[in-house]
Symmetry: C2
Subunit: 522 residues, 2 copies
C-alpha cells in the first residue's frame, strides 16, 4: 500500500450493500507484555528453553495453520505499538514513543537516577556531563480529531473498517491516549462496541473477587470497567473479557455482517497475579511463585484464544474469519513480580520490555486467513505499523483516505505466498525516554534500526553506536562496530535519516540546552 | 397483549430479512427522580405552580405532538420500575419492591427508627407493638438466566427486540440487579452496546472535572464508567451521555437497521449538583441553591432530549422514530440537597419518591409515534409494566415468548386513538420496606391500589386503610374510608387479591413472627 496523505473528509456513512459482501471477519488477538519465547510456538530457528515452560496448546493449534512471522517487531512499550497499529505510522513518526499517562498533558517519563531529569533541569544525583532531559513528545497519544494538544491527528484504522461495513468490537485494553482527550474513547476510534477499553494501560486487579479493582481499598484509575456481572466471583479478567467478547459477536453473526474483533487482553501485564485455573501445574513443575503466576496468566490467554476459535467454528463462521495473533512488546524482564532472574526472561534475546534490543521489540505474530494462508514460518522482517495496511488489505479497503502518512506496508503477500515484501526495509525502534526511577542502561534512551541481518543500536546517553549481526548473534552479544566501521556508519545513516525525516523526539542534552544528536551526526 | 408464560427456548438468532423491514426506531428517554410537576409540560388538569419553575422547551416541543398520559404511574423507587419495564411484570409480582444494592445478596432496606428492624430482631429503639421486620424479596433484581438466587428470572424486553433485528443501545443508568449477577450487565439483557450502565443507581458525580467520581478522593461503586474522554473537562454527565448516545446511533442509521435507544439518564438523581450551563437563571429567579441546582439538572435533561430530536431530524430518521418520554418514580421530596421545603416538592401531589401516595408514583409519560399518534392528553390510568407490551407492539413483535408472566397491556390503542385500554384496571403499588434510617410515615411500609378514580392506601405498620377519590382530591388530603366503608372494603379486596396472587413480599410482624396481613385480612 502506498503511503496516503489526504485532506479529504473521512467517509462516515456506510453503503448497505457492502455489508452483505464476502468480506472476511477479522479477529485481532493482541496480548500484552507476552514475550517472544513465552509460548510453545516456535518463532525462532529453534525451540528455546523458555518455549518449553509454557502450556499453550491453542496458540500451537493456531500456529499450525498460520503464517508464523519469525522476525516480527513492535515498539518497546505499549502505547506506541497500539497507536501504530491504529495509524500505520512508526512511533517515532507519530512522536508517541512512550506510554500515555492517564492524566492529560502529563509525560510518563521517569525522573531521577544517574543520567536523566525533567524539564531541562538536572536533578541532584545527575552527573553533569551526560544529563539528558525529557524529549518533547505527543504525551496525549493519538486523536481522531484535529487540534488536540500533544497528539498525532489520525484517521483510525477502525473507523475505516466501520465505514466499510464492519461491526467493530473493542474488548480489553485501549491505551491510545490520555483521559480528557478524544483518543481515550474507543467509540471515537470507530468501534461500535467497547468493553473495558479506557486510557488505562494495566488492570488494577485480574481477580473477580477484587472486582477488578472496583473496591474502596483497591480503586485507582486502572480499575477495569464494564464487568459488574463477574464481581465477587472467581472469574479471572481474561475469562471475563473473553465471555464478553463472544456475547458481542452474537449480533453481527446473526445479521451476517462482517466483524472486526479487537481482542486486546490486559494479560499478561503487571500485576502478575495467579490465574487459579492453571497455576498449580506450574508450581508443581518447580517454578517459583512469580514464574508460576505468569505462566498461569499466559495459559489463561491461551484458553481465551481457544475459546474464540471454538466459538467461531460452532457458529459456522470460522471459514471466513481471519485470526491475527500478536503481542504489543517484548516480555517484561524488569519486574520482580515475575520471579526468576531479572533481565533473563527473554533469553536468548537481550533484555525485555522497554528496550530497543531484541528482547524488548521482537514479538510473536501469526496470521491465519482461511484458504489464503501459506502456513509455516516466514522470516521476512515485519513490524507493527504494517498491521494497518495489512488489515485494510484483508478487509478489501483499497484506497483508504487518511489524514496521516502511513509508514507500514501490507503483509498480505507474505501471508499468501511467504514473499513479496522487501526483506531489506529499514525498521526503526526508538525509545528516547527514561523508563524507571532508577537507571537501566540497556533500556533508557536507546534507538535502533534493523536492515536485513544487520542491526544498529544508538545509545543516546553515551553517544555510542553498536552493530550486531542478528543472523549470527540473535542475543546481541558481539558488538561488531569496531570490526565494521563502514557498515556501522551506513546503518547509523539509515537510522538517522528516518528519525530526522520524522522529526522524532530526542532527549535534551542539558549542558548544551539542545536535543541529543542524530546517530549519524555524532 | 395476552399474558404469555411459556417454557419455549428464547429465539436467539435473527432473520436478516427482518432488519430491512420498516420497523420503527424507538428512543426510550427515561429520566431519574424527576417529578410529575418538574417541567413545563401539563400532565394534570391544570398547570401547577411548580410547572412554572422549570424551563423545558424540548419536553414542551415533544408534548405538542405526543399522546400525553395524565394518569401514568411507576413504582415508588427506581429498580422496581426499571425491572418492570424490562419484564412487563408488576414489582410486587417480581418480588422486586426496593432498589437493588450494588452488593449481591444484600438487602437495601434501612434499619433503625421507631418501627423497623432487620432479620426478625427488633432494634433497640423499636416499640415492641408495631415492630416490622424486613420482608423476603428478590434483593438481586432480575436475571436473564435461571437459578440465580434472589432474582426474578425473565426474558428481557431488550433481548426480544434484539432477536427481532433491533440494534439495541444502552446509555446511562441500568440498576436492574446486584453486582455479581447476570442482570447487572446490559449485554446479558440484550443490548448490543452499553455505555455506563452498571449495578449503580446513582452517579458518584455529574461533573467532568470530578471524572464522574473516578478519582482517588471520590471513588465509590457509583463512579460512572466509559467516559474517559470527558475527564477533566467541564462536560456535565447528562451532556456526555447524550454525545455518546448519538455516536452509537451512527452505526444502525448508516446500516438502515432499526434501533432501540434506551437513553436512561442518571439525572436528576442525587447528588444534586449544578449544571453550570443553566444554573444562573434559576438563581436569578430567586431559587435557593438546591432548587437552582435541581432545575439546572432538569434543563440539562431537556437539552439532551432536544439534541436527540434534532439529531434524528438531521439524519432523516425522525419520521420513523418513536420517542417515549418517562421518569422512573416521583420526584424526591426527602432530600435536603434539593432545597425548598421537604415533602412539598411534588405539590399538589402528596409526598414523593418512596411513597405509594401520588407524589411517589405518578410520573410524566408521553409517546410520539410519527403518523400513529393522537396528540393530546389521555387520562386513562397506565403504569410502568405496560411499557413492555407497548414497546413490543410498536416493534411488531406479535407473540413474544417469555419465561415470565406479563402483567401489563399494550398502550398502542391509547397512543393511536386515545382509548381502547380498560380505564378501570386495578393498578397496584407496593413498598413493604423502610426507606431511610429514620421513620417516614408517609413512605415506609405502604401499599396502594387505584381503580378508576378511587385509591386505597394500606398503611402496613399501623394496619390502617385510607380511601381517596383522586378526581376530587388529587392531593389525597381527605380520607374517605370512614364515609365509604363498603368502597374501602372493595378496594382493599382488589389490592389484597393482587398481592396474595403474586405472593408479594410483606414485612414480618416481629411480635407474631409472621408476615403482616394482606389488606383484606385485617
Amino acid at each position: 500500500m502506498a503511503a496516503a496523505c489526504a485532506s479529504m473528509p473521512m467517509v462516515s456513512s456506510c453503503d448497505q450493500s457492502k455489508t452483505v459482501s464476502k468480506q472476511p471477519n477479522i479477529v485481532f488477538f493482541l496480548v500484552d507484555d507476552m514475550g517472544w519465547v513465552d509460548s510453545s510456538v516456535q518463532y525462532g530457528d529453534e525451540l528455546y528453553p523458555y518455549n518449553l515452560r509454557f502450556n499453550t496448546p491453542n496458540m500451537q493449534r493456531l500456529s499450525e495453520v498460520s503464517a508464523v512471522m519469525g522476525n516480527a517487531y513492535a515498539c518497546p512499550v505499549s502505547t506506541p505499538t497500539r497507536t501504530s497499529i491504529m495509524t500505520g505510522m512508526n512511533a517515532a513518526h507519530m512522536g508517541i514513543t512512550n506510554w500515555t499517562s492517564p492524566m492529560k498533558d502529563t509525560p510518563s517519563d521517569a525522573t531521577g537516577g544517574g543520567f536523566a531529569m525533567v524539564e531541562g533541569k538536572a536533578d541532584g544525583n545527575a552527573a553533569e556531563g551526560n544529563v539528558l532531559g525529557r524529549p518533547q513528545w505527543n504525551v496525549n497519544g493519538i486523536s481522531p480529531d484535529p487540534d488536540v494538544a500533544y497528539t498525532q491527528y489520525c484517521t483510525p484504522l477502525v473507523r475505516l473498517l466501520k465505514d466499510e461495513g464492519y461491526f467493530t468490537v473493542h474488548v480489553g485494553k485501549a491505551h491510545w491516549a490520555a483521559a480528557g482527550t478524544p483518543g481515550a474513547n474507543p467509540y471515537n476510534m470507530g468501534f461500535c462496541v467497547n468493553i473495558a477499553g479506557t486510557m488505562a494501560g494495566m488492570p488494577r486487579s485480574y481477580q473477580g473477587m477484587d472486582r477488578y479493582g472496583n473496591t474502596k481499598e483497591l480503586w485507582n484509575d486502572f480499575a477495569v470497567q464494564n464487568l459488574d456481572e463477574y464481581y465477587d466471583t472467581p472469574t479471572h479478567l481474561t475469562e471475563a473479557l473473553t465471555l464478553e467478547a463472544l456475547k458481542t459477536l452474537e449480533y453481527p453473526i446473526a445479521h451476517k455482517q462482517p466483524f472486526y474483533l479487537y481482542m486486546a487482553h490486559y494479560a499478561t501485564h503487571t500485576p502478575i497475579q495467579r490465574d487459579e485455573r492453571f497455576v498449580q501445574k506450574y508450581l508443581d513443575m518447580g517454578m517459583d511463585e512469580g514464574q508460576a503466576r505468569y505462566a498461569s496468566m499466559v495459559e489463561g490467554v491461551d484458553k481465551s484464544l481457544g475459546d474464540i476459535m471454538d466459538y467461531l467454528e460452532a457458529k459456522g463462521v470460522a471459514d471466513n474469519t481471519v485470526i491475527i495473533f500478536m503481542t504489543d512488546n517484548g516480555g517484561n524482564s524488569e519486574n520482580k513480580q515475575k520471579g526468576g532472574v531479572p533481565h533473563t526472561q527473554n533469553m536468548p534475546l537481550r533484555e525485555g520490555k522497554g528496550s530497543c534490543y531484541e528482547g524488548g521489540i521482537r514479538v510473536p505474530l501469526m496470521f491465519y486467513w482461511p484458504k489464503n494462508t501459506k502456513a509455516g514460518k516466514c522470516d521476512v522482517p515485519v513490524t507493527c505499523e504494517d498491521l494497518f495496511p495489512t488489515i485494510l488489505d484483508i478487509a478489501g479497503v483499497k484506497s483508504p483516505q487518511t489524514v496521516q502518512e502511513v509508514d507500514g506496508v501490507s503483509l498480505v503477500p507474505l501471508i499468501r505466498e511467504g514473499e513479496g515484501v522487501d526483506p531489506l526495509r529499514t525498521l526503526v525502534f526508538h525509545y528516547p525516554h527514561k523508563w524507571k526511577p532508577y537507571d537501566l542502561e540497556d533500556i533508557d534512551f536507546l534507538s535502533s534500526a534493523r536492515q536485513g541481518d544487520w542491526k544498529i543500536v544508538y545509545r543516546i546517553a553515551s553517544g555510542k553506536l553498536e552493530l550486531y549481526n542478528l543472523k549470527e548473534d540473535i542475543g546481541e552479544r558481539n558488538d561488531l562496530s569496531g570490526e565494521y566501521p563502514e557498515k556501522t556508519r551506513e546503518m547509523a545513516a539509515l537510522l538517522g535519516e528516518k528519525l530526522r525525516g520524522w522529526n522524532a523526539p530526542m532527549p535534551v542534552v542539558v549542558s548544551r540546552g539542545e536535543p541529543a544528536p542524530w546517530p549519524d551526526m555524532l
